[in-house]
Symmetry: C2
Subunit: 336 residues, 2 copies
DNA sequence: GATCGCGATGTAATCGTTTGCAAAGAATGA
DNA sequence: TCATTCTTTGCAAACGATTACATCGCGATC
């Protein structure tokens, strides 16, 4: 903190060239002659020079970082996506800042291009902030939505086919002979909840199956809400033989609670999850689920953001829909 | 990106004062008169001014951010700690950057105070980098270790009492009548593995129980390694009646795999985990485990780093040991 | 009435880099 | 041989804030 470190000027002096040459040798090597470049590199080595990012960013009028807005950092679903994002951003020299929207941060602060060069938004539940009505929208950095999105918004998004995912779940259950199928949903105002529920309804309709309102259970994607839903399931007089959960976390919470009450899965009820989080394959019973390519989502969102930041606002970037897949495991079984 | 946004000069002009006054009004309000302050604030509002962090950081010779080195971002154990860190850092205006050491980043880059004002290291497996032999160590920013640490290193650390945690696990199993107890360990070069295994051995010795080498199973903290260990457990001719796992993830993987092979927990083998990750309470069976205060670890590490960055290198900050707790659930049972 | 101290404000240098512009050679072509 | 182009390099002006220092009133003190 105290000691002064070598600056570009020191390197220039050591190499016997100007600071401009050093700068060029480091950031656009093709602009300087091979020998000069070697000289500079040697001087960098000798002095132990490290670039000062604050100075560079100031001069370049950028921040050198992107911000990822996540609804809940403590949720393992997101950590994998973050991992995918950093794997793309770090190599090209961008810092990745994370902001947990649940911690009630001053999210508006990040929506300014002298704060971040770009944003990846994993929480579409910030309409008034994100849409930025009024003057300050002019200063908004590029935004890419991942997983979630805002309806009637034409900014790029990297999502999965949620309707299709729900359909896969229903297909699978019907194939196993189930007719009485329930759905454990996420928070009502969430776009994923809405889309998956709609996919569920359409698929049920396609098979001519009844959609019973009392079998549409409410949750919020969390483990705890899954456990709570189990109580409501237990209280039903007439129970479905299978349930499609809108998240793996809820599925685990649901199964865990049923187990405590002596109900066995899949013998007494089949359960399908959504996400394929790491624990799913190791849960008891191993969870049948709809797999999302979480790493790929993160990577794709990051690449898309990079493209947009470089001004390539190509249309093919607008709405990228990634594939989901049904993973058959032990939490579903042929109806007795 | 293109449009120029209001600078401090614009605010000064709008308020009819100098830039120095604006700066002071915003960062040390007590230095300007109340009326001037009001004037400035109004001008800020009117112009929509947002501070440029790059410029401020350059001038203040700092970066405005701290870096958290995590061994594996995809591991949910860490996301909760990150969450604790950001909850402390964000309100005081620090950015939190995350670097996944498993992604083989140029970690050295972060060990320079023009890159980060401080570091929280969750992965002590970087000795040669972190210790920074030689010249560049002079430029190293303050470091605080959390969870893991480096032996014979006197930098501050925020850890838990791992030996005691292991002892609690053994106490609990012995209390339930177990004498034949195994231990599923983490990666061999990890300080947590070493400490917990040592705690396990000491506790066993205290009860006069035999420590059988073939019951000391190797793992790496991951779900997959837990599942793999289950195979080795199954292959044993003489099996322990209980096993203490060095992480919840391994415990889940272990139980999940045993379940697939038709072995029941806790009827046929009792399992104790470590960490108390969120899923533990909802696993089947709910996991008996040693709980770590993950949020608190993150918060404490962050506060400690702040203190060190402000030059308060008090001795009471050197080694903070937080409490662990045994959580009794359903994966352990009295021996038949 | 002169001096001092203090609070409030302004002036201007500074943080460390990048980059537009210009100049100096070197190379090319007529 | 001279004009023209191209490469390579240096000079110096930004980028937008903070802050040491100077200034200016103004009331208090002797």
């Amino acid at each position: 903190m105290i000691k002064s470190y070598p600056r570009i000027r020191d390197v220039a002096q050591a190499a016997g060239v100007s600071t401009a040459t050093v700068s060029r040798a480091l950031s656009c090597p093709e602009l300087v002659s091979a020998e000069t470049r070697a000289l500079v590199l040697k001087a960098v080595e000798a002095t132990g020079y490290r670039i000062n990012h604050a100075a560079r960013n100031l001069r370049r009028r950028r921040t050198g970082g992107i911000v990822v807005l996540v609804p809940n950092l403590a949720n393992p679903f997101f950590s994998r996506i973050l991992s995918g994002i950093t794997s793309v951003m770090a190599p090209v020299g961008y810092n990745v800042l994370i902001a947990d929207t649940k911690q009630g941060e001053h999210i508006r602060d990040y929506l300014h291009h002298n704060r971040a060069d770009g944003l990846i938004v994993l929480d579409a539940k910030l309409p008034e902030d994100v849409l930025m009505a009024g003057a300050s929208a002019r200063y908004e950095p590029p935004i890419v939505f991942a997983c979630e999105w805002v309806e009637n918004d034409n900014r790029p998004r990297v999502v999965i086919d949620n309707m299709h995912g729900a359909a896969l779940a229903v297909d699978h259950l019907v194939e196993l002979g189930h007719h009485r199928i329930g759905h454990l949903m996420g928070p009502p105002d969430n776009i994923l909840t809405v889309t998956r529920a709609e996919g569920f309804r359409q698929a049920m309709k396609r098979y001519g199956l009844t959609i019973r309102p009392d079998w549409m259970l409410k949750g919020d994607f969390s483990l705890a809400s899954g456990a709570e839903a189990a109580h409501r399931w237990l209280a039903l007089e007439d129970r479905p033989s299978a349930i499609f959960c809108s998240s793996d976390a809820m599925a685990c919470g649901f199964i865990g609670e049923l187990h405590k009450r002596g109900i066995r899965v899949p013998e007494e009820v089949s359960v399908v999850g959504f996400d394929d989080i790491d624990i799913a394959a190791h849960f008891v019973p191993a969870l049948t689920t709809i797999a999302q390519p979480r790493d790929l989502i993160g990577q794709t969102a990051a690449k898309t953001l990079l493209a947009v930041m470089q001004g390539q606002g190509g249309e093919q970037l607008q709405k990228q829909v990634l594939e989901v897949e049904l993973i058959r495991r032990q939490s579903t079984a042929r109806i007795a």
